[in-house]
Amino acid sequence: MTEYHLRTPLSGADVEMLVAGDVVFLSGSLFTARDKAHALTRRVGSPVSLEGAALYHCGPLILGDRVLSAGPTTSGRMARYTDEILGLGVRAIIGKGGLPGEPFQNRAVYLAYPGGCGAAAAQQLRVLGVHLPELGMAESLWVFEARDFGPMIVAVDAHGKDLYQEVRRSAQELETH
């Protein structure tokens, strides 16, 4: 378990180096997207370039240009879009609860930010801009500047390791024995 402080955009080498269980802090720009932004991106394409991007599954609470609370939302709802979003060049998806690991292999990582910790997360974020404001506060695509955003756990790495799946499998085995 190694601690990394990385800057976006992320390279293929950044992703390659990370192993499930590592701790990551990110600086640089982050893009938020949840249900509606994903659906819209599928229909008409992304309003921003996502090459090397860290995509944050988050519906923040914003007042003016101030981030008040901005923890992760459940990634599972966006699982149906993972493959095409990673195909746009996204190198890290940030969220909670995890995503199926297969689409991440050899190209991206899933980073888990502690759920429910919106106030702490807001201290590490600043608003740089917003796209798709017509979708409303929670569903817009916000551009944040992150300063040492974390701690995040590499929960799914690019080498086929998935911490959530390991924990779930061991829990199910315990129950059947």
Binding site: G118, V167, L174
Partner: protein, 268 residues
């Protein structure tokens, strides 16, 4: 009196969104002290830090400020010359602007957001009559992460409801922001089981032998904080029961994330 209800609603929401009840904090602190997995311990400590930041700065501790759920205990001698639900809705609209809250309430099909956290059927008010002429109002803002994992099972009376609960928790816990509080509704009908489960969360803490045994069984699964492994999967379980049909065994599980927010205001 209507103004008092409106103001109490705003105050209860303000407190519920920016702090946690003492007993909830205590459960998280105790779990952090006990937890043997280093990563899980870090998560629990980070959760406590998050609450401290939120309370010190008056910020909602989670960006999901929830769906407007309230429990009202109303004195039987009290006669209201106004609509209680309209007064609470007015409080929710004000709280949305002043705290502020994230506008979460949308039409179920058009997904149009009302922008003020109210709408048809919202706020949801659970009403009980009690002795006297007072009014006790509890704000219980319910986040979607844990609510989305909740379920009702219409079991065969020959099934073991506790096996069903443990299996469902093992499968769903990671998405619900564990460590969890679990409200269990056992018996009744399809909808009564669900309401009992919500009431169980409102009535926490659970301390019966049955509840503690189920808690231990769930914690032995090793799911841990945020589903990434550890000793602490649930912090509390409460079971509410009702008689059911001889052919039925309804079981409802209402998931609640670690940020078990609630605050009560009393109007005399």
């Amino acid at each position: 009196m209507k103004d008092k209800v409106v103001e109490a609603t705003v105050r209860a929401l303000q407190r519920a969104e920016t702090s946690l009840p003492d007993w909830v904090l205590q459960r998280i602190e105790e779990a952090a002290a006990r937890e043997s997995h280093p990563l899980a311990r870090h998560h629990l400590q980070f959760m406590l830090e998050n609450v401290a930041v939120a309370t010190a700065k008056g910020l909602p501790l989670c960006q999901d400020t929830g769906l407007a759920v309230f429990h009202v205990q109303m004195g039987r001698e009290l006669i209201l010359d106004f609509s209680l639900s309209e007064a609470i809705a007015e409080g929710v609209r004000i709280a949305t602007r002043v705290i502020p809250l994230r506008p979460n309430a949308v039409h179920p099909q058009t997904r149009q957001n009302s922008e003020d956290n109210t709408g048809t059927g919202m706020p949801d008010i659970i009403l009980d009559y009690v002795d006297g002429r007072g009014l006790k109002l509890t704000a219980f803002p319910k986040g979607a992460g844990s609510e989305n994992m909740s379920l009702v099972g219409m079991l065969n009376p020959a099934d073991d409801p506790f096996d069903f609960i443990v299996k469902s928790v093992a499968k769903r816990a990671a998405n619900a922001c564990p460590p969890l509080f679990l409200g269990i509704g056992l018996g009744g009908s399809f909808d009564l089981a669900a309401r009992l489960a919500k009431r169980a969360l409102l009535n926490m803490p659970g301390e019966s032998q049955e509840e503690l045994q189920l808690l231990e069984r769930i914690n032995s699964l090793g799911i841990g904080p945020m589903g990434l492994g550890g000793d602490t999967t649930a912090l509390g379980i409460k079971i509410e029961k009702a008689f059911c049909h001889t052919a039925s065994l309804p079981v409802a599980i209402n998931f609640q994330c670690w940020a078990n927010r609630s605050a009560t205001e009393v109007i005399q």
